[in-house]
């Protein structure tokens, strides 16, 4: 098996593709880390909105979640790529397109996890907090959310791993992530077996580390 194609392009694949240091706009990590953080934050709002009393908050949140859980991420990426620059009459760089698509798509899924987490906190906690004189917001912030977060950790990390893998779809719009870097090299050298197994291993190393980290977190929080 001739692995010279990997060794001669290793720097390009890892530095440009995985991390994002290089002449092209790209980098899996450069996209995944902000997407995970922003997606989670937006997800908290979406999840809480789905539990709101007021229907004018609850209904849009529900529709938002149902919509993004019913369409493929590829479709959402195409929407953002083609339509948003047209509506805003501004060019949007691939990074912005990809980041926006991932954040709004994954927020629907994070929202469901947050919702399930909050709902798993026993009702007694909320009642006790109210009995102690805490307002709704204080209850949520100091009593419910901390406990909910503890329950959510496994599902959260699972979803983060999913998002990390989903960043590979940014290659469809030309963002030079690890997958696109592999395509660029393969288009020139035509050695698909070695190249794609190599990036499969790189992805696996990243996601495996994430799940090991998750299990450690779970054990600590238990």
């Amino acid at each position: 098996m001739d692995v010279s194609v990997i060794t001669s392009n290793f720097k390009f694949l890892i530095l440009q593709g995985l991390i994002g240091i290089g002449p092209f706009i790209g980098g899996t990590l450069r996209l995944a880390i902000p997407a995970i953080l922003l997606g989670f934050v937006l997800g908290i709002f979406v999840g809480l909105a789905r539990l709101a009393q007021a229907p004018w908050i609850r209904m849009p949140a529900t529709m938002y979640v149902e919509f993004f859980r019913g369409v493929p991420l590829v479709m959402v990426i195409f929407w953002i790529w083609f339509i948003i620059p047209q509506l805003l009459r501004l060019p949007i760089p691939e990074y912005g397109v990809a980041l926006t698509a991932f954040v709004i798509f994954e927020a629907a899924y994070f929202g469901e996890i947050v919702r399930a987490g909050v709902q798993s906190v026993p009702r007694g906690q909320v009642e006790a907090a109210t009995a102690l004189g805490m307002t709704g917001t204080k209850t949520m912030a100091y009593v419910v959310l901390p406990q909910a977060l503890k329950n959510m950790v496994p599902s959260l990390v699972t979803q983060m791993i999913v998002l990390f893998k989903d960043t590979s779809l940014a290659s469809i719009i030309g963002y030079v992530d690890l997958t696109k870097a592999a395509q660029i090299v393969n288009n020139r050298e035509i050695k698909p077996f070695q190249i794609y197994i190599f990036i499969a291993i790189v992805y696996w190393l990243c996601t495996y580390s994430m799940s090991v980290f998750a299990r450690r977190l779970e054990r600590r929080a238990a």
Binding site: T62, E66, P91, I184, N187, R188, I190
Partner: protein
Amino acid sequence: MEATFAVLLALALALSSAAPALAQPDTLEKIKSSGVLTIGTRTGSPPFAYINKNNEWVGFSIDLVEMLVKPSVEKAVGRSIKIEKKESTPPTRIPLLTNNSVDLIAGTMTDTPQRRESVDFSLTFFYTGAQFLVKKGSPIKGINDIAGKRIAAQQGATNAKILREKYPQAQLREFPDQPAAFQALVQGQVDAYTNDGIQLYGLKAKAPNPNDWEVVGDFYSEEPYGMAMRKGDTKFKAAVDAGLKNGFESGKYFEIYDKWFGPKGELPYPMTPQVKAYLLKQIGK
């Protein structure tokens, strides 16, 4: 379910009633304020625009923009500008242009009357025709041999359209870009790959084993390459054309041509006197 449908319907209605502000696109103004000219170009079409062995994005079309169009645009807006490159492929280049993601398509786009309905083209900067790339020794020798054969083409390219409409007896397989189509040919998934002759020569030259491939057939279509821009963008078009015209007149264009297609270039492909006359006739010479 009904709720989601209602939201979608409302969104669709809102979008259609948003009064289409028919302002004429003014790319020069945009470039003046942002200082950036964004071009859409290819990554797998040697030697026009491709990523070379050092993983650098280079090519003939890219050089034309950097050395001919850029100075002319800088003169028009009165400041120095940066060129940014985005990848565009046959199926995506017109949408990227019309939705403002790129300002200029500089790659391997053929100037056709049908496309002129959606975009404007610059002066022609290259002239070629469609042919076939096959494995050496293949029975396919031209457009008349393709009945029943599997032929690869790029989705949205002029040759795909011609095969689809005029040669339905051939089995057309469309691919999102040139490298994908070429790999299909390498693996034997298709019997031939059709594209503009010069691009086929470029592919062959850069392939791992150039001697395994040959370019066959007479030109079954005419492919003048132009740079595409948004329709009605007269001032920008004038600037781009001025740059190219300058290149023809001063000889800089022929220097760049020599760099890529000359005897020492990436792909030796001498310019025939007819093509040279055609190019110069555009500017009245």
